[in-house]
Each structure stands twice: as C-alpha cells, then as structure tokens.
Symmetry: C2
Subunit: 714 residues, 2 copies
Amino acid sequence: MSNKLNRVWRKEMYPPNNGNKRKSVSTRILLVALLAFGLSKCAAGQSLQVSSPNGVLRVVFSLQDGAPHYSVTRFGHEMIKPSRLGLVLRNAPSFRDGLRIVASETRSVDEIWTQPWGEKKDIRDHHNELRIVLARTGAPAGKMTVVFRVFDDGVGFRYEVADQPGFSEFEIMDELTEFALTGDHTAWWIGGYWWNRYEYLYRQSPVSVIDTASTTITMQTGDGLYISIHEAALTDYASMTLARKGEHTFEADLVPWSDGVKVKTAAPMKTPWRTIQIADTPGELITSYLVLNLNEPNKLSDVTWIKPGKYVGIWWEMHLQTSTWASGDKHGATTANTKRYIDFAAKCGFDGVLVEGWNIGWDGDWVENSELFSFTKAYDDFDIEGLSKYAAKKGVRLIGHNETSGGIANYERQMKDGFDLYQRLGVRAVKTGYVSHGQNIKRIDENGVEQREWQHGQYMVRHYRKAVEEAARHQIMLDVHESIHDTGIRRTYPNMMTREGARGQEYNAWANDGGNPPDHTVVIPFTRLLASPMDFTPGIFDLLFEEARPDNRVQTTLAKQLALYVVIYSPLHMAADLPENYEARPEPFQFIIDVPTDWQDTQVLHASIGNYLTIVRKDRNSQDWYLGSVTDEAGRVLQAPVYFLQPNMKYVAEIYGDGANADWQGNPYDMEITRQLVENTGSLTLRLAPGGGQAIRFRPATDEDIQKLSPAAD
Amino acid sequence: MSNKLNRVWRKEMYPPNNGNKRKSVSTRILLVALLAFGLSKCAAGQSLQVSSPNGVLRVVFSLQDGAPHYSVTRFGHEMIKPSRLGLVLRNAPSFRDGLRIVASETRSVDEIWTQPWGEKKDIRDHHNELRIVLARTGAPAGKMTVVFRVFDDGVGFRYEVADQPGFSEFEIMDELTEFALTGDHTAWWIGGYWWNRYEYLYRQSPVSVIDTASTTITMQTGDGLYISIHEAALTDYASMTLARKGEHTFEADLVPWSDGVKVKTAAPMKTPWRTIQIADTPGELITSYLVLNLNEPNKLSDVTWIKPGKYVGIWWEMHLQTSTWASGDKHGATTANTKRYIDFAAKCGFDGVLVEGWNIGWDGDWVENSELFSFTKAYDDFDIEGLSKYAAKKGVRLIGHNETSGGIANYERQMKDGFDLYQRLGVRAVKTGYVSHGQNIKRIDENGVEQREWQHGQYMVRHYRKAVEEAARHQIMLDVHESIHDTGIRRTYPNMMTREGARGQEYNAWANDGGNPPDHTVVIPFTRLLASPMDFTPGIFDLLFEEARPDNRVQTTLAKQLALYVVIYSPLHMAADLPENYEARPEPFQFIIDVPTDWQDTQVLHASIGNYLTIVRKDRNSQDWYLGSVTDEAGRVLQAPVYFLQPNMKYVAEIYGDGANADWQGNPYDMEITRQLVENTGSLTLRLAPGGGQAIRFRPATDEDIQKLSPAAD
C-alpha cells in the first residue's frame, strides 16, 4: 500500500515523553529530539540542520572557526562525521575559512516525474532542501551557497557561486569536500582513475587500504548499513575521484587539466552534486533514484524518436580475431557481412545493427593516429548508402560507430557532418569510443598547440556534453564506450542512452588475467551500475571459443548469460554473439528475442554484494514480468516468492535455468528450459549453478496454457 | 506453489552434454557428474557417496589408509573438507583406523510429520540416508556403522555400535569427529563450556581465533554461505563442544565424566547426530528443521495435556532485589503476593503463574547447600493447597519451580514425590533450575562417594532424560533453566517445552557488564535459537528501574520488548515484568495479551546476523499473523511486503512501532500504536529505532474496521 493509504487510527506518545530521564542520554540525541523538523539555528556557533522527509536522515551544517563542515546522522547517530567543505580558487577569493552564514532557506519537494524510458517509469523526487549562503568575513568580499538535498535514501549537496563582483572568471584549484566515515567499512572499489575508462575488476577491502578510488564506491558498515558515494549532474566540471586522508576519511580529488587547474569556470556556476546513498540493504541501493533526481529535468521537447531496443553487430568477431576493424582480407565491416547481420536482426525483431570498422582510419596504429579517423567516409567494401536502404527495407536501422581514440579535436571538427550523414541514412543510434592511454586526450589549445589531457577532466566532460547536444539535434541516441562515469545525465538528455565505464564482456575474449571472474557481475550492479545503464554486451552463447581464443573463455553458464539481460539494465542491449552461435541454440535464444529493454518497474528480490542478485522487472509495454538471478562461483538455492505478479491472474513462467549438473567451469551449457503456471501467491526455487544464473519470463497464461500446464493433468 | 504443482512442460539438456570438453574441467566435478544419484563405489580405495534430494549437497565417505573420513560438497564444491571420523574406546577395540567397508545401504525418506505444538505445524523430513558398516581389519574384531542423512538444508551423521561380542560394556575415551572448514569463516560463537549454562554474549570473529566453542556455532563463508554446527538427539552421551585444530578445523571435544571418561555405554548404542546446516541466507537457518528431523518421533501417546501458553510470575522482583527467594520480610512467594499474580494472570487470560522461592531451601548459601532443597515442602507463608484452589477457580494454574543448584542426587530422590504433589495440585508446568559453578554437580557414585561432575557431561544428560520422562508420567511440561543445550528432544518428548541455555532477560537486571547489548537479540536467533525454543522472558516494560537497580537497565526500546515475543520462539512465554508495570501501560500490553505461543507457520522476511531480523508467524488457532522485527544499535527502515497474508482478504494491521524519536539510549518509551488496513499485495515500512523493534498483529478486518480505516474516509 502506498503512504496515501496509511490511515492512522490511533497515534500516541506512549507514555508522554518520560524517556529522557536516563543518565546515559547523550546531548546530541537530545538536541535532535528537541529541534523542530526542518531548520534550526544553534545559539553557540553557527549551525543549520535539515532532515529527510521521513526524519531518519539529517544533515547538520556548521562553521568551525569559520570553516564550513557538514555531517550526516541516521536515527540520530553519525553516518558521516563532521567533514570539511570548501573551494580553493585562483583569480578569485577562496571559500575555505573565515566564512559566516548570511542567509538560509529551506524547501520541500514531493513530486513524481516520468522517465521517457528506464528501469522504472515513474520516479518520486521527495526531499527537503537547505540552502546556505556563506560570506567571507575578510576582504576581498565573496559569497558562496551550499545546497543540501536530503532524501530518505541519501543526501546530495553542491556548491553554487552566484554572479557577483570579482568572480567573472576564475579557476578552482581544489575542492575541499570530505567524506569522514565512522569506521573502517568494507568497500567495493576500483582505483581513482584520471584516465582509462574505469575498466578494472572491483576489489573488496577495508577502506583503510585504499589510496584513491573512483566513484561509485560502495561500502558496508559494521552495523550492516550500505553507503555509496558518487556525484550527480557532472556537466561542466572535473570528474571527482576520492583520495583517502587519515584512517577512513575520503577527500574529493578532482581530475585536473594538463596545466594543473581543476576547473575553469565563471560565475554564475554550480558544481555537480556530491551524493551519499544510504540503505539498510544492498538491494535498496539499486532501486534508489537519488542520482537521477539530482539532475535537471528533460531538456528535449520531442522524445518520440528515442527508442530503447536490442541490437546485434559486427563486433564480437573482431574480439575473437576472426575478423578485423582494419581493411583487408579479414575486414569485418563488409557489405556482405553487414547484410548477414541485417537479415538476422530482422528475423529476430531486433532494432539495430552495429557496424564497427566501417569508416576509414582503422589501418595501422589507430590509437596513436586518431587524426586519421574519418567519420563520414566508409571503406570501399562497405556500401553505406545501399546498406542503409537494405536495412530500412527490412525494418532495421544501422547503428553508427565513431571511434575517436581520444582525438577530440578531430572528432569535434567532423561531428556535425557525421551526424548529418547518419541522420540522413536513418541511423538513430551511434556508439562512440574513446580508446586512449594515460594522459593522452588530444586538445588544441587557444594558441593552436596540442595539449594532452586526462580522460576524465573538465575538457572531456565538456566534450561529452557537446556530443550529446549535437546528437540530440540530429535525433541520435548515444552509446558511449570508454566514457566518463555517468552521473544521471540521461534525465536531462534522454538520448544519452547507455555507456560502458566498467569491464564489459569483451574482456572475456582476450584479457590476460583470464577475463571477468564469476563474481564480476554480482559486484558491478552494486557499484558501477548504481550510476546508470551499462552496455555490457551480454549474450555470448559460444562460451569457450577454443578455436578463436584458446586461452580465454566466458566464466559463466549459458543460463547466466540470459539472466544478465535483466540484472544489468541497459536501454540498448546487445545480443553480442555471432548469428551462427544463436542459430545453433534457438531455444535459449528465444529469451533474448523476448526480453524488453524498457521497464515499468524494478524490484530486487535477493541481494548480497559479490555473492548473488535477483532482480525482477515489469515490461513497460505489456503485462509481462522478467526475472534475472545471478551468482558468483558458488551455487545457490534461492526462494523467490512471486508476489510482484498481478493478483488473481495465472501466468506462465518460462524458466531458463542451469541444469542439474551445470557448472561454469566444467559444464556451462547444461540448461533446463521449463514452463509452469504460477500465481502471485506462489514461490519459485531458483537453483543457480556455480557461476550460473536463471532467467524467467512471466507472461499471462492463455486458456491453452492453463489446460496444458495445469497440475490436474499429471 | 508446492513442488507438486510444478509440471514440467519441456525439459531438455541444452545442448546434449557437450559442456565437458573444456581443459579446466576438474576430475572431481566430472566424477560427480558421472556418478549415478545415491550411492557409488570408487574403484581406487573405498569411497561411498550420498546426495541430498535436490542433488545440491553431497557427502563423500572414504577410507584413507583405513581411517574413516567424510567430506561435504555443495554444487560439487567443497563445504567441509575431508574430515576424520572415529571412536577411541576402552574395554573394547577402537574404531580409529585399520577399517574396511563391509556393507552399505541407502534409503530415501520423504514424509511430513506434525508437531503437537511449535513454530510450524507440519514438518517435512526429506532426506537420503547412507549407512556404512565398517569392520576392523585386525584383531580383535569389531564393527561400527556410520549413518549419514543428507537433507537439502544440511547433513547429519552418527555412529552406531551394534550388539556384538566384546562390546557389552565399554567406554568412549575420545570421539575423533572433525569439521574441516574450507576457509577462515566469520563465526558467531561462545566458548566451549563444560559448565555454566551457555550464558555468555556471542562473539563475532574469524574461526582462526577460536580455541574452543559450544554449539550451535554459526559461520558465514567468504562466498556468503551460512553454516551452523550442532548436534541432534543427545539422550545418553556427553555434550559435544568443539576444539580448534589447525587453522580452521574443529574437532569434537566431548564433556568428560569426573574420571576422564567421555561416555559410559554398552552395545547396542547410537551416538547423537552431528549436524551441519548449510544455507544461502541466514534466514533459512531459522526455518530449517533438520535438528528436529533427526530426533525420534513422539513417544507420548497422549499429548492433549500439553498446552503452550503465557505466564507471569514472582521472579523479576527478585532480580530487581525488591523481594527475595529466601524467607523473611521481603519473601516474594507469599500467599498474598501470589494471589495478586493469579488475579492479574486471570484478568489477562494468561495460563500460568510461576512462583519461585515457594519451597524450603532458599535460606543461606543455597548454591552450596543444594541438599537442603525440599521439592514438596512450602514455606509457611505460602499456602500451596489454598493457592492451587484459588488459581483453579480463576482458570489459572500455578507453575512449579524446582531449583536444584546442582544437587542432582537430592533432586532425583524427591522428584517423583514432587511431581506427584504438583500433579495433584493441578500444576501442568514446572520450571527447573541448575545453578552451579564449575565442576560442581553433585553425584553419589556406586560406592556412595560424592563426585563432582561437569554441568554438560553424560551424567547430566541422563538426569535430564530422567526428569523429562518422570514429568511426562505426571503430565507435566518442563521449562529448564541452566540446562544442557537443546538437541531437538522436544520432538520425542513434547512435554520438554522450552529452556534457557543463553543469556536471558535477567542479565539486564544485574550483569556487571551492563546487561545484554542491543545486538544480543539479533545474534541468538541465528545461534542458540536454531537449536530450540528459549524461555528468554521478554516483556520488561519498566526499562530503567532506576530505584531498584540504578546501575542497570534494559538496552531496548519498549516496542522491541513486544517484538521479542515473535522473534524468539517459546511455547511458554513469560510476561516477565511486574503486574503494576503492565497496568501502567495498557495499550502496548495488549500485544502481549494477544500474541500466541503456538504457530501454524514461520517465515523470515529480513535477516542479517548481528544486525536485524524480521519474522512472521501464523497463529495455529486463528487466521491471525504476527510480525516481529528487531534491530541492533542501528536504526533501520525495512520494507516488508506482506505477501504471506491470505489473498483477497482485508486485514487490520495493529502496529506497535518505535516512535519518530525513539532510541533505546535516550528515549526508549517513545512508541506509536497505529492501525491500518492491509492486503497481501501491500507492503509495510518497518521503521526500527536504534535498539528498537516493531510488533504487528494482522487480524481479519471486520466490516466496521473497513469502514473506519478505509482511506476514502481521509
């Protein structure tokens, strides 16, 4: 039942407030209990507070000798200890200390907005906001605003510098934001990367062994609470990484420009939101929409052309080294090969065909020679015009591919022409790529000199914004690989569909560490995937590919490949394997044909970070529900009550499960496909093999199904 | 849906078994895959196997150079590494090594049996059994049988010595059973106590820091699996403790007699079952009935006189030191005081009134002078005959109390006379007590000499069996304090109702460590309570009792005290506080009046060891459901879908929750009592304060409820 249905029959303080007599009552708790909801000022020193709508979370802002700090309590107990805030500026006075509160205001928001597409249709934005205007006490003058939004599931805060004398242009040399944790929590994390795409395996360790970390970083406290730190609405700023300071405090460590400046900006400006999600269970992190809620609403007036869907493509064969991106005998992006994929996509009802290696520039060392890429000229053996028409005739669209290898100047120079061309050819989605190494993003500075930038600094953030805006003008959806981390931009630009930003399937083809271990896909849903959809490219059916890549394999069962379509959310999901591998196994492939990529609702049934995860999602366009359950290297038997189904209605559960003897290592193809009638009062036993999974489609039962599957027929 | 409803529509190996081609296939896994279900012999060496009904668990028995070993796999991966088995005997040849398999047989059982009372009415016993007869290869001859029962939720095994020459009487000097764990699991444990009632706070630590442990010991593996080791059907043997051997192997360490012998026995004999429960989630440990399934069926032909219920008693006032067990001015067990409790019990509809200190023997140092206790003679100010009649008139029964302070000979001498008396007076339940220190149980040996025994050795195990049988003959239910650990005896003797065997409520009155910390009651449900019901004596309403015991208090909120009636299962539950404290708070007390102590079903909604736990139970005698949710020192917000309720039926949820500002430390009485309509498609938000809890009664809604509580009336 919703909150609206909760009618209070009797409500009482029982007995009236005699509980405070005890000697062990701490001053802090008493203080919180006595303060009115919302906002209060503490007489001694300057302090302001704001609590979440349900009163559980509370942010306390205070000045300590003029230096701004915040802390977060939950049920009156510290979750984030008093932590530094502030900006160190150049060409303008800093907001570091010597500050006082000159104004503050609060605001409450409770509204529901609708995603054009997503993992859940209607999102509730329910928060209390506290804005605090701080002024420098000394000369030169200057004002900065700190804004807190406190939700039931976490906190967001950011800095704003309003238009004022002395701040027309300035540089941020350091952001002083800290996250002072209350203990040596267990963290799931990767290093704090200024470059290289976040494509690492997550580590599990105490916070105290971390030097630097990228966000999203997720932690479990000693009390069994879960915290995840990230940022929202990164649009014209440097990406945030975290550096550990002291035993278990992180401080913001912004990715700098090549000249060492962190952010080049001018008033009025707003930083991204720093986000702290807090949950009692790891599953609640997954169904928290705090990061989206902190982004600006949709800026596109027409979104009818934005369509989630599934695609195949000329891609995996290059990773298997059976064809090449480069031209020549083994060139993958040929007209004939593309027609084969178009035919297959049409037969399966898929929406798109990605073609990598279609354009000039792939020959030689393309990572070094990014300026050679053309984004309009196809190789001779790729008939782009003819293929576009062929695809259209079959009801399929080509998906463009723009690998930049970090040559941003080269790409930006051609971007409009490229998007013009793609739009004319009926292309609706473009996969972009930014393969680059180290501090190697090529930028031409104002003097015409080439500078080398980090992959996640402000220069690249600006580039991504440019690309998404240009794409929107051309009604093009983006799927960005080697991307900056997602911070919920898709809310503002719903053509920003999906991205990479973690180790995807291709590592299974060639990584010299053996590929993604079985637990990889039960860690990223609680870390990387909290930020946004991911183009993981699941669905490899030939798991061993011994002839192509004898030293590698996929470390899952076949059933787990299917489950990933539900567990990992992406509005554009690839069926990543070769058509012939799907044709060889039509029964399990049916699940990939059926599974949607746009959802009405998402719920988590089982969640244990690094161990297992079961997610159910309701199709946005039908009464179907889908379940995906995945495990690490340990087999599991999980009970799944199916209470989410509509009451008093019979469904057929089409179950794609690991077979009795399945094991990712020795028997990955052992699979059982069964059907049974279920109702919302029932429960299913999910048996997941080591490295395995289970995928289920629940569809309303027809009379024929009921007759055929009823137990009475036994 | 039950298993019976699962009709397989299509079932296939997909594709037919081509998964074994991979180089990394381990021999072990292949072996398992190729072996037929049930039982097989391995050509090289002697090895036998048996798997669980669902095939997930497997026990492998093997002889290594003639020494018996077992191991347990789950999904083909080791859970218990090869571990020693064997018995070292005196006055008979040992079964240690030099053994061979001479016979074996398997058996499958799938049956449902009904508990006369309990946490769940119908229990399914579904297992595969493997019996292996081992013979000594050298002289003298001797045979021993090892029996394994493999369930889907764990394994039990025991030794049997059949009647045979040379084994008419013998002594067990050592049991060689090992539990070789696969890693340094996180354990929740107390030390391996040969004495003193298991009344310790559980520690959480890696296995590698444990020297000795009592069972039940519960562990979490690195893979997020849960293991709990205990024993079942301890009837004429020594209690098992565990001693660590090597990095993470435990071996059985039996509590000895005073002469060092572990067990005095004769063929035919059977040891208790050694039990290993294994689960994917901690909640599944709670709803596992493996220990009960390994006990003998009910031996009592008539169980109509066995009635779960609630009681009050003259008890807490002694712990508060406002009255005494001993005679004199402050004597608690007076006729007048008892009448007051009888009146109160009658008014509330409770079944019994416990009176401690009613009988002669409490004056002076009663722990040292156990022989002074009379179990038939009341103090002069306690009119036992008159009170029995008074109680009967009010529809209430007195509950007997027999504190032995370890004087077993004294107690056994009077037991029959005592039980005769109690039965005549209409007493249906007796609480027994065994307060003693160290190796101090008094036994008179065959030469008439007094020996001092440990509290948990075979002598005491035999005594408990005697007591429960004598009680059954007198239609008396037992509630044993300072007991040996429960091993499921209640299945065989359903008059063995409940017991202590862990730190109960009384530690909050006087423990010099400050009492039970908030996490105590979110640890014992996953450890001690796995073995059996516990007479925890919840329901203290005056949480601070500053006048009586200023240095102590109860470390919970008021709502948590209510939740404990559901979370902790006991067929006899005490309302432990003084009548005047309940009369001062009638609204929350209503929950204690309402809550049943006998259940149709039990389900776990949320479970995290040491953090939180939500249990729902269905009343056996109505359509009501009850929910109890408790947390440690951290506040929680837990979502509870109420899918367990009957579909298409409106219930009133009577919610006893922590108030918005509740906190066990500073504001423990803050409580909200509300009612709302719910259906099984709904979900409730459980908001638990730090150290708090929530109790809910769900009862079918009347038309009046529906009218009054419907949201339309808002």
